[in-house]
Symmetry: D2
Subunit: 355 residues, 4 copies
């Protein structure tokens, strides 16, 4: 397996399986002299952590980050930041039942085909536990661009959608409910729905919307490394993601140019923002916003047919502690990946308006 | 500007503005000993070329590729393949009217802010003419993986959608109409609609669906470089793209796990394919399919308000020869980018079933 | 600081300062299914470790590697291998005397100028302790190419040189003396010389020769990424290295072509090997050999003038436990870096004779 | 073949065989707004060109660069700069005699083994003609860092060495003689020697010294991407290079620390400069200097034994027009590669004293 590094100048490389000794990573390229706020890093970890509410998995993981290098007297030194997150709560025996079988819509089968070997405990490297390292990287990325405001939130669960544009939402309410939906009426419905689904031993999909504000003009490279192409890759690299759209997105594909074009104001801002803050791959100074689709978690507590490694189909009861809906816990991951992308372009791009 | 290279082991680097002397590129990493079919490369170029039918722009560009290296007696030698595509039909005076103004939803403004200088002729580097070089790269990529079948087609124009699953379509009909839609009834409606839109001096968006068949199990890297994340980045890097979804996509976000999971057959194939041929970032041997959203072309022939570089808003009549709908010509570009991604993973991945 | 990753497909990323909590790294791209020999990894660590003999520094560091991921039931899984090496024996107070001063020919001054901050304890990231992580990477690299024989040894200390070609040396004697010189007579002289130098509170330079055998034809890329260019970069990245030459090296620059050319045998091997096993950047199947020059360690126990951060020159007595000559302990580091380069090309190159 | 790109942020990718239609390349990452001096680019090309004097090959190549993109009204636009250098003087029939044979110490044999195919005309991609594209890249790199002075010169031919330190040489004399040696007495001897060697149908090696002045403190990354490691790789990637040393180099390996350390002055400069302007991989503001060893050209006009592709050894008379000594023409190539390295670090490093 390769491809465990994200970023060009602000680079995060991660390692770790869900049931090994520890997860961790290395951040290379972090500028020197930044006084880190460790509490806010740990706070991001708490947001991703299992067991925060009744609608997420009840596994207890401490998720405490230990920094091993790159920091001296609380400041970054410019050297690589190595960190580990010990796995303190692995119950590997929860997984012995899948040692010889492949769960539907899981990576079990392809891992074994690709590598000829599989750490079956808790999904191994394919477990979403890997994203804990991303949250560390994103939390530090946020601290090198404090002027940028990144807010992600749950915009739909199953068929329940927020029916307002993001401009009418109060982002300070995102953390006020277990779903991480800033629209309280929708949040309530979503929460009920997730509980219902959980009772059935089933799972449900959802979407997350992310809004990035205060971005200067000029981030992004115009051809292959367009700003939205990197954001898209970042989001599609998160477990369970099936789609990405920014600005007008798939709706834009139904529109006419005369309706879709964003007219300018005299100061170069635009009256509308169907472009989603990006023109030709380059930020234009307007809000960047995008939406990410997450499939329902594949692990069901209901009985399901699984494939054994002897080519038999057998019924199996799901075990383990799993999320009935992944989006509430994925909110900080979306923000972390967005922060990694934006911080990287800040290091890459030196010609922008607000610098 | 950086970011003009795509790929890790099969690398395409491109250069060229729409109204410079030539476009071109370098393919580095192409295996040696492949006998190239130049006709089929040129045929791909024809598919992308303007002026093919009444519903696309009537600019005449020869788009003839000249190969300068890397090929000896029709075979690849393993050395880098340099190529150019001379610009034979630039009418730069078509663009003098925009020298001092920024068109809505174009990259004009951000280029000038980012670089402090702009080649305003025909959009310069931001012109979709840049994609001609991608088509060359993709056409060669296809020839190193001839067993892989890549078929893209127009699946919607504005509100007109094909209402059948791709399995019921006959891909051999894609090239039978100007829209590149294999469903003849839909194609007819789409063509009419585009003509209508063109008459209004307006433009319209659309979507392209792409199906990749015969992919072996094991392509893709499980964490940041997931197969669908690279496909997503590739598609989002194409001009005018606003969204990407694969398999169940955004619909999957509304579903329950018990409906979404793809049950196995005894041979490891699956009964359904909502996963879209990719599990945990790795191909599972089933068809890969995805959908790409394109916004309506920003250049209108209608009058529009533009911003001048003195901060004034003035009315301007569109000029130049432009597509009323970008999707018919974008079909070969989607295929080219898909071929680049798949060929690269073939070089990266050595452990797969069908090798 | 960036640049903490080495390799293209077999990638080692390292972190850690000499007096932080731990050093460590991530190996990404290691093939799956390799049964690791942990003892031989630890043995390589012992070779690099301080305190092995009276001619090296008497610091005691355990240098015990802890693997945190990527290995399941002693086999590599294809996922990234994370590891740490705890720093158990830091005596940071040994370094308080240099907090405000810059030692001659050390990196102290440039670090502070570049980063505006410096972890002065033990040289921080510029300490050769960083190379412990390289030895872990190299030890694993060696295990994926067990057929390749890599032998480095001390070929000179100060003015004392081995006066035989490497073909007349018995590599099994390398570890039989503290200097790591396979020629026993020379080894004895070198050891005496180092002891003498140490008594003076001084240090001495030296060279290491490395021979790589059983390399198949075809490793290396012919233009910028020539095999010897990567080997050169690898060696020059080791602390204290001042020069690199391969094959005939600097002597070759004095020769005539008629003397320098290596005539062929009928089987494609060559009668002589002034080329050093590499032609045009590509291995030709003959032994690869090169020589690396190390300067004398900059830290003296003698008094020296140092520069303070207030711009004053003051006399200072050296402290700490330092090597009088770096080459004996650098032997495993040279081998490790060579192994990393060769293993990477094995993954990159698929067309070679002995595959 | 891969590895045709050099640089991280200022990237040069090259293509082209000696006897194809054209050589060329793409420079990606060049900052926008730089007014290019095309004459000085062409002047660098002339320095590398064959046929400049009686001691270099008499092939006539125009070596005229044509820029195809990335430049508008003489200024760089920030988009990739594509360029070609047409091959106007290929005499492919000069090479028909080697179609089926491998010349000693040439890349013929390894190319055929590695790729299974070989463009035998003039060495194909392994020809030093490839370096013409590097000179274009280097000439533009020089223009983005005009404050940096890069001077390379021939410091030895065979056994004839300049016996003065570079500080006593007048760099303005480098171009005053055909050898490119600023010491006139040495130049005369070298020129005579080369003529003598040429008469014998033989060739001779040599060294080039390069001095880089006005470099600010702080260029270079301290671990794998040390400034001298990148310079070393750059030089070792040039055809015929066998060794690289900087500062005290291989001599430093014979010295004691008390003699080798560079004492500070109060302003942070050093009294001596055995370090060669680089400490711990980072420039320290002193002159950077290094020496590069070139082997004698492998192509002799004398008769030599060659290996045929049927495994026979036969005598063959050399043909073609070749340099008896490569170093005079390699001077601009060394400078070009140095400029590429330094320009890249300027883009990478933002924290240095003189910025």
């Amino acid at each position: 397996m390769a491809g465990n590094t994200f970023g060009k100048l602000f680079k995060l490389t991660t390692f770790g399986e869900s049931h090994g000794e520890a997860l961790g990573g290395i951040i290379d390229g972090c500028p020197a002299g930044i006084e880190l706020d460790f509490e806010s890093i740990q706070k991001e970890m708490q947001r991703r952590k299992p067991g925060q509410s009744s609608i997420v998995t009840q596994r207890k993981e401490e998720d405490e980050v230990q920094f091993l290098s790159g920091i001296f007297e609380r400041k970054t030194t410019g050297t690589p930041i190595g960190f580990i997150i010990p796995n303190t709560n692995q119950k590997s025996n929860d997984y012995s039942h899948i040692e010889n079988s492949y769960r539907p819509s899981h990576a079990d089968y392809v891992y074994e085909q690709k590598y000829g070997i599989r750490d079956y405990r808790g999904g191994g490297r394919s477990s979403a536990r890997e994203t804990a390292s991303r949250v560390v990287g994103g939390a530090i990325a946020k601290q090198i661009i404090p002027q940028i405001k990144i807010n992600a939130f749950v915009s739909s669960v199953g068929e329940i959608f927020i029916d307002k544009p993001y401009q009418e939402l109060d982002f300070s309410k995102i953390e006020s409910n277990a779903v991480r939906c800033p629209d309280e009426a929708s949040a309530l419905k979503m929460e009920e729905h997730i509980k219902e689904i959980k009772k059935q031993g089933d799972t449900i999909g959802g979407t997350i919307t992310c809004v990035i504000q205060n971005v200067p003009i000029g981030l992004g490279e115009p051809v292959f490394d367009k700003l939205h192409a990197e954001l898209g890759k970042a989001m599609l690299s998160i477990n369970a993601v099936k789609g990405f759209e920014f600005g007008s997105g798939f709706c834009g594909a139904k529109m006419k140019g005369s309706d879709h074009n964003d007219s300018y104001n005299e100061d170069g801002t635009t009256k509308t923002n169907l472009s989603g803050g990006i023109q030709g791959g380059i930020s234009n100074g307007m809000d960047i916003y995008f939406r990410v689709a997450f499939k329902p978690v594949a692990t069901l507590i209901q009985k399901q047919e699984v494939l054994t490694n002897r080519g038999e189909l057998i019924e199996q009861q799901g075990k383990g502690r799993h999320d009935p809906c992944v989006v509430p816990r994925a909110v900080p991951i979306v923000e972390a990946m967005a922060a990694l992308v934006i911080a990287d372009y800040f290091l890459q791009n030196k010609v922008y308006k607000n610098d």
